[in-house]
Symmetry: C2
Subunit: 166 residues, 2 copies
Amino acid sequence: MSDKLASRSGMADTGIKDPAASKARLRLWLKLLKATKHVEAELRENFRTGFDTTLPRFDVMAALYRVEQGLKMSELSSVLRVSNGNVTGIVDRLVDDGILVRIPVDNDRRATTVRLTKAGREQFEAMAASHETWIDSLLDGINVSEVQHLSDQLECIARKSTKGED
Amino acid sequence: MSDKLASRSGMADTGIKDPAASKARLRLWLKLLKATKHVEAELRENFRTGFDTTLPRFDVMAALYRVEQGLKMSELSSVLRVSNGNVTGIVDRLVDDGILVRIPVDNDRRATTVRLTKAGREQFEAMAASHETWIDSLLDGINVSEVQHLSDQLECIARKSTKGED
DNA sequence: TCTTAAAATTTTATGCTTGAAATATAATTC
DNA sequence: GAATTATATTTCAAGCATAAAATTTTAAGA
């Protein structure tokens, strides 16, 4: 793990092999973060003014839209990679708004399945269409021929987090 | 703004010129988000267990570290691109912890300057060193020769948000 | 000067997010 | 079958984040 040369140069061993590359990675990370935050901020604003909703709510709806029979709370938090308690709160509010229903699970009274209502599915479809146009517009600075390449690079940043089931 | 062909094909005009490219951009966005969230989650965990602090606190300290004489609250929220109220809360806690001090501004009793204490500067230096090694490790899947290229692509996603003063 | 407008910051209400503790049910083990 | 362990979910406390309203002070205009 440690650089053997560090002990000869009198430097503290930070585990960094190539300082210049490390600085470049740091700058890259800051840009990655900046780009992501920018897109997220625009989406948030669009969801707020256009649909009076939020990105987390959209994410929950998107996950459930793919699975018509619904998901258990634990499956939902696993798919979205957020904590259980977080999903509970967002689902509570979506249920209040008639977008989701909670359905008891047979043979296991601990668990609950959550599913989009008809109204929920319709609302999601409208939002998803807008969402796609927003993204299309926000990312139009990206050279289309680069998209796949860029995708691959990002894939390998996130690779440790999952086996890519998403 | 709208695609003239859409009106002839009977499709609703969503403003999307090239549907295939649009889908590719959407997938790219999801990967961008996933990669960023993954790195952020790792950093949060590292900051929590290693320094009992958070990423937003680190961000505030980083911004102030660069400007020894400190920044006004409004400058700080502008640099960090977060709301005024948000900065107020984070700064409150950092002041309580002896990491920051608030200094009145001469000739303007509305404003406050915020500055790192000596302890704050020392703590930041230790955290920044670790932060760099964490990023180096998290991004080591990126081909070093690609870093600049990737950087440029990201730059053009974020380009509308600022004139690049950061 | 008086009053009106602008600027800097804080406060408030609401929601997202986490990690940890609590609750309830199911499955295992003895 | 009773006690234990594991699983599914919710609750809780703390902090982050926003937008909008409120406060305080400064600046400008009549």
